[in-house]
Symmetry: C2
Subunit: 553 residues, 2 copies
């Protein structure tokens, strides 16, 4: 019997960039297609997308993609669609209504025409000879989130990406544990389980607990209220709208992502507005400040977001005054601390009241299961094997210990593959059968993949000590050292650096005089680079990038 192959294309150690490949013989099933977020070590990079070269190789060798399934509408699960679909053959894509709506938005943004098929829950859908699947309702920080049961020739796989077990969800749609149980009763070979929030051991607060806390913060505000939140968090938005209705405020939406998501969710009846509550963002001046609430994008303090422009007085529509109150109804995503706190500090310095979860924990609730809920799901599933996903390495390691081991799984039955490891699954067990090199591609401006490791490491070097360009004329085979030019950026303030420039010119001239006779120009350039770097470091303890350019005339 053949093995089922499983490879996370986004790598195993990253929380984002979710994309999973399941393969049985010549059939491939994909789950999710998400982007990753570059950190400070990837300056200038907008987005990371999973490496699909292994997938493309399989396709070239005759494999067929039978379908792609989308678990929910967050960008780290659907955002890579417009970048990757153009490089792949056609195949059907399935999702729940809101997930399909959000995915369709991502595609239209990049003018890609592709239909996503909406499928109901609890209905086993046959895809091909080997694969069928069904969706199971789960609660999370975006409505219409699903777990996926995949029937394969080797057994049932439970693909349990992002979830929580909210006991009082805003739309009343509970995580369908009865259906999980029904599937479990049929026997599950392997369960993939969201491990992100395994470091918390208390049942995650219900989303419905956040509404009353927000309403309390929104009461008795003299001026406008600004609420910033994750723009896909439709249930959070619904609760702010409901609070506005009670408090007699109109609500406006500002910021591309918020506006787009609100429009799509409304269209699909996932967001409900009392009559007349919506304000046109282009006519805010007509509404008294104490009758207005603005839901605004930028909850991470992102540069250029609507919130941040408003905070620094640069927004064409929103002017914040000391009468106003700003509510951050979102936690920091690690890496955004500097910008997030800078926005809060700027507001504080201008005497604007700001509330954020560190001040009032009740105004935010996570969308992820704590270890207690993870354990509940694991117990219900009774899968033979477990594989924590959706977390960093530290979360997967803790999951193994405090969820899996505690539930009776020994380490052999908990899979922690490293990035690029292909698991081979059959009734005899699961083991690593192949190793693939995964290099996430960087999207930078309009370029995809042309900013690689060398360019990024150059950018980091440039940022640390700048660049010195030495333009050295060579006329009829002889270097004209008197005409040498030194240009620098990001090194030292050049107007005050005559001494350093003189030093650089002198040392370069010395090197050329000693070496030029005996070596090629290319070797000479390398020699200048190396020697000058050493000499500069000695006198100034910095390592600017040194680029000699020989102009031959």
């Amino acid at each position: 019997m053949s093995k089922l192959k499983l490879l996370p294309l986004g790598g195993m150690s990253s929380v984002t960039q979710n994309m999973y490949l399941y393969q049985y013989e010549k059939e491939i099933l994909l789950v999710d297609c998400g982007i990753g977020f570059p950190d400070m070590y990837m300056p200038g990079v907008d987005t990371l997308i999973p490496d699909i070269s292994y997938l493309q190789e399989q396709v070239q060798n005759g494999a067929k993609i039978v379908a792609m399934l989308l678990s929910h509408g967050h960008d780290d699960h659907i955002g890579a669609l417009p970048y990757l679909l153009p490089d792949l053959p056609n195949f059907p894509i399935y999702a729940s209504p809101l997930t399909a709506g959000f995915a369709q938005d991502r595609l239209s943004d990049k003018k890609i025409d592709r239909e996503i098929q909406v499928v109901p829950d609890k209905k086993m859908i046959k895809l091909s000879q080997f694969f069928s699947f069904e969706l199971i309702a789960m609660t999370h920080s975006v409505p219409d989130t699903k777990h996926i049961v995949i029937n394969t020739p080797v057994g049932k796989i439970y693909h349990g990406s992002d979830f929580k077990l909210d006991k009082a969800p805003i739309d009343g749609i509970l995580s369908d544990m009865a259906e999980v149980k029904r599937m479990a009763d049929q026997g599950i070979l392997l369960a993939l389980v969201d491990s992100l929030r395994v470091d918390r051991n208390v049942w995650t607060k219900s989303e419905s607990s956040v509404g009353p806390a927000l309403e309390k913060e929104m009461a008795n505000v003299k001026g406008k209220i600004l609420v910033t939140l994750m723009s896909s968090h439709i249930h959070r938005i619904q609760q702010v709208v409901n609070a506005c209705a009670k408090l007699g405020r109109k609500v406006a939406f500002v910021g591309r992502s918020v506006e787009q998501n609100v429009a799509s969710a409304s269209l699909l009846n996932k967001l409900h507005f009392p009559d007349g509550i919506q304000a046109d963002k282009n006519h805010l001046a007509e509404i008294a400040d104490n009758k207005l609430c603005i839901i605004v994008a930028g909850s991470q303090g992102q540069e250029g977001s609507s919130l941040v422009r408003a905070v620094y007085g640069e927004h064409p529509i929103i002017q914040i005054t000391p009468q106003d109150k700003v509510i951050f109804s979102a936690n920091i995503i690690p890496g955004n601390e500097i910008n997030y706190y800078a926005a809060i500090d700027e507001l504080s310095a201008n005497n604007v009241e700001v509330v954020y979860p560190e001040i009032n924990r009740d105004i935010h609730s996570s969308g992820h299961a704590s270890s207690v809920e993870q354990r509940e799901l694991v117990d219900t599933l009774s899968a033979k094997y477990l594989m924590p996903i959706g977390g960093a390495d530290r979360h997967r390691a803790i999951f193994r210990k405090i969820v899996a081991n505690a539930a009776g799984y020994d380490n052999q039955h908990v899979l922690l593959p490293k990035s690029g490891e292909v698991l081979g699954i059959d009734n005899n067990g699961i083991k690593v059968i192949d190793k693939v090199l995964l290099n996430a591609k960087a999207v930078d401006g309009l370029g995809i993949g042309d900013v690689g490791p060398i360019v990024l490491s150059d950018r980091l070097s440039l940022s640390k000590a700048g660049i010195i360009v030495l333009v050295i004329p060579k006329i009829a085979g002889t270097f004209d050292l008197a005409k040498m030019k030194v240009v620098s950026r990001g090194f030292v303030f050049m107007k005050e650096a005559d001494e350093v420039i003189a030093f650089i010119k002198e040392k370069t001239a010395e090197i050329i005089e000693v070496e030029a006779q005996t070596i090629t120009d290319d070797d000479l350039k390398k020699k200048i680079e190396r020697k000058l770097a050493k000499k500069l470091y000695k006198v100034i303890k910095r390592e600017p990038m040194i680029v000699p350019v020989i102009v031959e005339l």
Copy 2:
């Protein structure tokens, strides 16, 4: 009657870079002399130091620095000494024993010979005609921390920098609230109070609660134990040493900052070792892993620190195995998240057990007072005016609301000066009487202050999209466009960028052909920069720095 002037030289909005100037007529008293920590928007910068130009101006105009007082031994209070003392006239410096010891270490590091005078607590010391001071014992995350009462002609100032009210400190030296009360009974005009941890409303855990939790984590470990912590946290180190004694482990210290601080603290009898417990770091191989604990620098996951080198298998002395356990007994300082978690993830991926405060809150306790303790101090002081310090703008704003207002102070009696505002203080009140421009100086390699705003903004631009240098030869007044050279770094991978280079050359040639006749070379360079940037952005949505260099022959 003259006013007492007060100016925080490190700026009011930064948590670090603490340095305060008090001036009465021609006498100046300084408190603390700390460095600041650059964030990701200051790439390449090692350290920030306060701007003392106002101070130097006063000195030039005849003012005399009567003394500098140091509150405690953290680098954001003493680390700028070696950078600033050489630029100032001589004056006495006073501190408690350990603070003096640590300060002396900073000075010897940079080979600066200057004595620091050790003074006892609760003794009013006359400095000059107008100023006298006394130290009051306080608990914090470094021993020998003091608050300072400054007697001035306008009244008593209570300089209450970093503190907590630990009810069971490791060295038994409680915050001396009786002395605070005695001073308060004499009447305090203005109290400066540490506001950093105002967002917590529960009394900060005693440091002594951390020891048992650490001991529990250290029990039953099969291999070595590595503990990483703030290297100045002598009481934390003492507790790890004590736990080692109980568990029969030897303890070694690795990492320059840890080793230096341990040596100084031992010398001053602030750290006590049971006989024979210390291991020589150069003979670790002689000790069985299960009998060894290493206290290692690098608790923020800093690049190049001993811990991080060990984590990535690059340390000459420490090899970490899956039998070992690593304990992070420190919280993240905002901005270090990426490196901190990367170290933890790398250990987890290698099956090494890691514990950090998010997993076990009991293994760390803050050194700062919560709002409850701040309130306790404020109530005891009964000062006429309050001024929150040591926090960001958000903390100062919250302090005003939940500590000061709650204690009965109206906003007129709570001072929140902006950075550079000089307060004028007398019995009639306190108001802003001058405004100074403060520009923290960057220390970069061996340079102090030569990396200014322009260089930093260039570095940021370079990091985002790299640089394109256009070398354009001009021979006898005519541009030789065929010989033009394009060199780039950090832009795109040039081997795959023939098209882009051709585009750049073509567009540059076009601009030169149209413009060169009518404008100067300098204007031409500017035009090329601007026009080419625009054209490039259109086709590739990136903004590399463009540097045209005209080589005239």
